[in-house]
């Protein structure tokens, strides 16, 4: 038996980047979903909901594969807890996108014309947050190649540094949108308001989890 052969496990970083990409594919569907919602295209929403659900499932499969190939006996260049939490957190982004799609799918909710601009602004900010995270997280493989140090680590840390503020902006937009919704409460029926609220909750969760995932990515880079 060769000791050298026994020494190596499989690198989790390639599959982690796969997971990141899969989750981001999910996130990218928020935009067409929103368009379909504004147009009231229920068939399109149905189709996109199926697509999100499929992607979310595929991300789940990758998540399980990564967990299975990392028994405790392997020593990693990053903290194991940080890595596992990163994976869980990133997976929650896809979950939240799916929840959003389901909210649109289960009830034919229409967006009030006066809400459109604020709604689009809020969706745009959520996408901005998750884009920033995606751009940083796909660098994991390169980070591993450069042993989590040097110029590459610095540039990824810089990217993540903006996440907090971007997420805070998303929160502010959500609040503004909420106030607008309740200012129209006389015109809207309660169930519609309930579903607006659900949309906002799920979307803001996407931004929230993206920020948390970014924090864990930072922890992974800083602590070996």
């Amino acid at each position: 038996m060769s000791l050298i052969k026994e020494l190596f496990g499989q690198s989790p970083f390639g599959p982690l980047v796969e997971h990141t990409k899969k989750v981001h594919e999910c996130v990218k569907l928020i935009e067409p979903l929103t368009e379909a919602l504004l147009k009231g295209d229920d068939e399109e929403i149905h189709r996109l909901q199926d697509r999100v659900s499929k992607l979310e499932y595929e991300a789940d499969v990758i998540k399980h594969e990564i967990r299975e190939q990392l028994p405790r006996r392997y020593f990693l260049p990053v903290g194991r807890d940080e890595l596992e939490n990163f994976l869980r957190c990133q997976d929650k982004i896809a979950d939240s996108v799916q929840d959003f799609a389901v909210v649109l799918f289960i009830r034919k909710t229409r967006v009030h014309p006066e809400l459109k601009d604020l709604f689009l602004e809020f969706v745009g900010q959520v996408l901005k947050v998750s884009n920033t995270l995606n751009e940083a997280a796909v660098e994991l493989q390169n980070l591993a190649e450069t042993s989590f140090g040097g110029a590459e680590a610095t540039s990824v840390l810089d990217q993540i540094a903006g996440l907090g503020e971007q997420e805070w902006n998303a929160d502010r937009m959500q609040r503004r949108l909420s106030r607008k919704i309740y200012s129209l409460e006389q015109e809207l029926d309660p169930v519609t308001i309930l579903f607006y609220d659900k949309m906002l909750q799920t979307l803001s969760r996407v931004a929230n989890e993206a920020e948390n995932t970014g924090d864990l990515l930072r922890a992974m880079i800083l602590k070996g």
Binding site: G9, P77, G149
Partner: protein, 443 residues
């Protein structure tokens, strides 16, 4: 006639042991190059064969002395009270043959049981075992034995520390830069310089003495430092020119592409570094096979037990051939499995690991310490893991390493005791007669 038969038989035994060394360990020495896909398996086998052979013939004599007479003092056995004429050399001869057989048999058994074993540990354990049974505890040089065991701890540790430092430097100075391609052009020649100086020094400085005798003092003495510096400088300059040409105008590519290019620059280096590991493996581990053989040849041709004798070159050549034979028959398959399992090993990591292992093993060889090349390399790789250079390293392997000593040393010792006692009962008279037929004038 009797002496010739004895020499031929033990030479076969030594060849068998050397074959074991080749079949078991050599794949590991080239592992970094094969795993990083820097060399095809076929060429890895060929390169390993050449380097192992060169290492064993050129530098192999140092550790051979330790295995031959450093662990068990043959003169203690010779001065045992109440021995008949020719009985003392016969006892030493049987003991050495028993040790060789015990180590080889244990290696075969352990490999068959799927245990990672070191040929160095087997032979040291076997010789200590025979020493204890032949002349009691006092026949074993416990001081030297302690040094050897300490070196088994220290060599993976030193390999680990060196690997950690080397990889940290490569990653800080090259991979971690904004433009790794530019950094590679200016820094890599230093890595090449270090590597070549170590290898040249190891070969030249007192290494060639047993081949050249006193004739070539200019190269085996202090001149070796000059030679090493010259070789190092020339290789570094060549490397710089070649790397510069390979990486020209690439500094604006995206980072992943730059990293890949840098790794490609390291690919020839990891081949050279792995060859150096194979070379130092040959230098250190050939002794496991030919140490006892050299002792037997010496006794059989002089009919006396002495301390000071040069290791004959043909014995080292025989050992080298055995290693190459083992590599040719089994090494290919082992190399294949090792190569597919360690794909995480990129050329830059491979260079750090192999260079660290080479330096450590060659220093140990020069200090006449039989260490395990494989364990040293494992130490170096773990060091790179600690420097955050590897994605997933199995920490259980360290446990296997300790486990393998605790089993191998006693097991080989007990086997050697059994074989020695059997040999003493069955063969003592024959060997004694064979040795004494040689007229004293011929010795």
């Amino acid at each position: 006639m009797g002496c010739l038969i004895i020499i031929v038989l033990t030479a076969l035994l030594g060849l068998y042991m050397a074959w074991n060394v080749g079949a078991n360990d050599v794949a590991n020495s080239m592992g970094c190059a094969v795993g990083s896909k820097s060399i095809s398996i076929k060429w890895a086998v060929i390169a390993a064969g050449i380097c192992e052979f060169a290492g064993s013939v050129l530098v192999g004599a140092h550790v051979t002395d330790t295995v031959r007479k450093g662990i068990v003092d043959p003169t203690v056995i010779a001065s045992l009270p109440g021995l008949g004429p020719g009985e003392a050399p016969a006892l030493v001869l049987i003991g050495m043959a028993a040790s060789l057989l015990a180590a080889a048999v244990w290696l075969n058994v352990a490999t068959w049981m799927g245990m990672p074993v070191s040929t160095s540990h087997s032979i040291v354990g076997a010789i200590a075992g025979y020493g204890i049974i032949a002349a009691g505890w006092s026949a074993v040089h416990w001081g030297k034995m302690g040094q050897i065991v300490a070196s088994w701890f220290l060599s993976p540790l030193a390999g680990g520390i060196l690997g950690f430092i080397l990889f940290k430097m490569i990653s800080k100075l090259i991979l971690g830069r904004k433009r790794p391609v530019l950094a590679a052009v200016s820094i890599t020649p230093f890595v090449v310089f270090l590597m070549m100086v170590v290898v040249t020094l190891a070969i030249a400085y007192k290494g060639l003495k047993h081949l050249t005798g006193e004739r070539a003092e200019w190269i085996t003495g202090n001149g070796a430092f000059l030679a090493a510096a010259v070789v190092g400088l020339l290789s570094a300059l060549t490397a710089r020119i070649l790397i510069r040409r390979a990486l020209r105008d690439k500094e604006d590519l995206p980072l992943p592409d730059q990293l890949e290019l840098v790794e490609r620059v390291f690919a020839p280096l990891v081949v050279v570094a792995s060859c150096a590991v194979a070379f130092s493996h040959g230098a250190n581990d050939v002794a496991n096979a030919v140490g006892p053989l050299a002792a037997i040849v010496d006794i059989a041709s002089t009919c006396t037990v002495k301390m000071r004798v040069f290791v004959p070159a043909w014995v080292l050549v025989l050992g080298g051939c055995g290693i190459v034979a083992g590599l040719a028959t089994f090494g290919y398959r082992v190399m294949q499995t090792v190569g597919t399992k360690i794909t995480q090993m990129t050329p830059s990591r491979g260079v750090a690991a192999a260079t660290a292992a080479t330096i450590t093993v060659l220093v140990c060889t020069r200090m006449k310490l039989p260490v395990s090349t494989t364990h040293t390399l494992v130490g170096a790789i773990l060091g790179i893991g600690l420097a955050r250079g590897l994605a997933a390293v199995n920490r259980q392997v360290t446990r296997n390493i300790f486990g393998s000593w605790f089993i191998t040393v006693p097991a080989a010792a007990i086997l050697a005791m059994v074989f020695f006692l059997l040999g003493k009962v069955l063969l003592l008279e024959y060997v004694q007669q064979a040795l004494c037929q040689v007229p004293p004038s011929a010795g």
